[in-house]
């Protein structure tokens, strides 16, 4: 009787072991195959930052507003503090103010509508290393506790101010 029970226990144990190995194998595969961040999505986020920045800087202002000059040219004027003025809705404003409003318009119509969090900065570094912001942030990338930046894709352009350099930076948060 005892031998019979032991035999039966052994049989059940074998079955249980086989089933456990099978389930372990399936679960392991399921965990391994569950998603890794798509390379393509990463690549396209980086390209989005690059494309937006390149397009913004190439954009020509309205002929009546600022003689059709490109935004990159106006940014250099702003950075150098030439005192240049442009027309904004019929009013004469400083070129930096014109840039603030225009770049706002461009970003609001695109990446803000596309539900992306971003940070647009244009600043120059003086020889002393002090940074002066020229255009303000529009929509900040914030970590959960309200400080710092989340993981970003960033692209930067450099505009010559002679002798300084202006950095124009667009960061996308993901």
């Amino acid at each position: 009787m005892i031998k019979k029970a032991q035999t039966e226990m052994l049989g059940i144990a074998i079955v249980v072991i086989l089933v456990s190995i099978g389930i372990l194998f399936i679960v392991t595969n399921a965990i391994r195959s569950s998603g890794s961040q798509s390379q393509k999505t990463d690549f396209s986020e980086k390209q989005l930052a690059t494309n937006i920045l390149a397009s913004i800087l190439s954009t020509s202002s309205k002929a009546d507003d600022c003689q059709g000059d490109r935004i990159s040219t106006l940014m250099i004027d702003c950075g150098k503090g030439t005192g240049r003025t442009c027309l904004l809705n019929g009013n004469e404003v400083d070129v930096c103010e014109y840039l603030n409003v225009t770049i706002d318009t461009l970003l609001n119509a695109t990446i803000k509508v596309w539900n992306k969090k971003y940070q647009f900065l244009a600043y120059k570094s003086l020889a002393s290393g002090v940074q002066i912001n020229i255009t303000s942030r529009i929509e900040q990338c914030l970590a959960g506790d309200g400080t710092g930046l989340q993981y970003v894709q960033k692209d930067s352009y450099y505009l010559p101010l002679y002798p300084e350099t202006m950095t124009v930076e667009l960061s996308l948060c993901s």
Binding site: K4, G11, G22, I26, N29
Partner: protein, 363 residues
């Protein structure tokens, strides 16, 4: 004490074990089937991931033309057929890309080169795929220094990272076996004129004779003809005498510009080259159509909205007819390379005039 039915108990235990064995076997078979299907799925996933990587590599190469880039790959061969790459039953189509390469890419280093094809405006990037295991030999005799120099100059114009050399095919002092899985022989008409009989009679090194016929191919580039032609060469075994020899594969194909000549060098054979060749001319046809319509619109605007720009309305600044001629010629490329070349020259001239006059360029 004897228990009645002891024999019955003995039989019962045996049946129990048989039962356990049968059920155990069924359960094992069940899980082995699952693991097999998981393994196949894993192979397909690996193939999918690798092909995605190759796709990304090609996308990157397209943005930086005229560069040869080397990428480490797992040593898993994949197939290339016109604009399709495949591995383990998974394939990827690239209908918009023009790719030249061997039918099988095998080895740890994948080499990707891209080159712009312009006629005279940019039509497309040609992509050349190869591996370090494919050997490219420009055939020349070191005993003839002038021809050897020509061959060396041509060799230097080929992308840097590929396995390439200048050498001769003499069985005694020709090129040696370097254990390549494919070899491509390049004959230049300036260096090694190849009438049919000379090709048939050409002696080959033993290691080339031993290689499978599909692993050895060649290309004859005839620069003396106008337009330049390429003619593919295959290795075959003469059925009657068992002699291994080279022979032409098809008729000469007229090509247009260096990127197409490189395409013929990298392509596996005449049929694969022809597929990408026709794709390229098809693309030329459709891109030229767009440029033609653009020219007509710009000409119209200079006559109406911008009529004050009198310098942009003069003859010799726009070229819609010439572009249209190229678009039509592209539909019959083997007969029309001369037409394309003539009209390209006219378009370049008109474009230079447009730029000089600060008018909208043609390209």
């Amino acid at each position: 004490m004897r228990f009645p039915g002891k024999k019955k108990g003995a039989i019962e235990i045996q049946f129990n074990w048989i039962f356990v064995l049968i059920v155990g076997a069924l359960i094992l078979v069940f899980f082995i089937n699952i693991s097999n299907s998981q393994r196949k799925a894993a192979d397909q996933k690996l193939a999918f991931d690798l092909l995605s990587k190759v796709d990304l590599i090609m996308s990157g190469a397209l943005t930086i033309p005229k560069t040869g880039q080397v990428f480490d790959m797992p040593n898993i061969p994949f197939g290339l057929e016109c604009s399709r790459i495949s591995m383990s039953g998974v394939s990827r189509q690239f209908p918009d890309r023009i790719i030249f390469g061997p039918d099988q890419l095998s080895g740890k280093k994948l080499i990707v080169v891209s080159q712009d094809w312009t006629v005279p405006f940019k039509i497309s990037n040609f992509l050349y795929l190869t591996t370090s295991g494919v050997r490219y030999v420009v055939v020349a005799n070191a005993d003839e220094p002038a021809q050897f120099q020509t061959a060396t100059d041509f060799l230097n114009s080929l992308p840097d990272n590929i396995t390439k050399e200048v050498g001769n095919l003499s069985p005694t002092n020709g090129i040696n076996d370097k254990n390549n899985y494919k070899i491509k022989l390049i004959f230049l008409s300036d260096v090694f004129p190849l009438p049919y009989q000379k090709l048939i009679d050409l002696q080959l090194p033993d290691f080339i004779k031993r290689m499978p016929n599909s692993a050895v191919s060649g290309i004859y580039i005839d620069g003396s003809s106008s337009p330049i032609t390429v003619r593919f060469i295959k290795k075959e075994t003469d059925l009657s005498g068992g002699v291994v020899r080279l022979n032409f594969d098809g008729e000469p194909i007229p090509v247009y510009k260096e990127p197409m000549i490189f395409g013929a060098i990298f392509a596996e054979n005449k049929d694969e080259f022809n597929c990408s060749y026709l794709k390229a001319f098809k693309k030329l046809h459709y891109v030229s159509e767009v440029y033609r319509e653009r020219e007509l619109s710009i000409s119209n605007d200079y006559s109406t909205t911008y009529s004050y720009r009198t310098e942009c309305k003069v003859a010799g600044i726009r070229a819609p007819e010439e572009i249209n001629a190229i678009s039509i010629a592209a539909t019959t490329p083997t007969q029309s390379i001369g037409t394309i070349s003539t009209n390209e020259g006219a378009i370049s001239y008109a474009n230079a005039n447009a730029l000089r006059s600060s008018c909208a360029p043609i390209y």
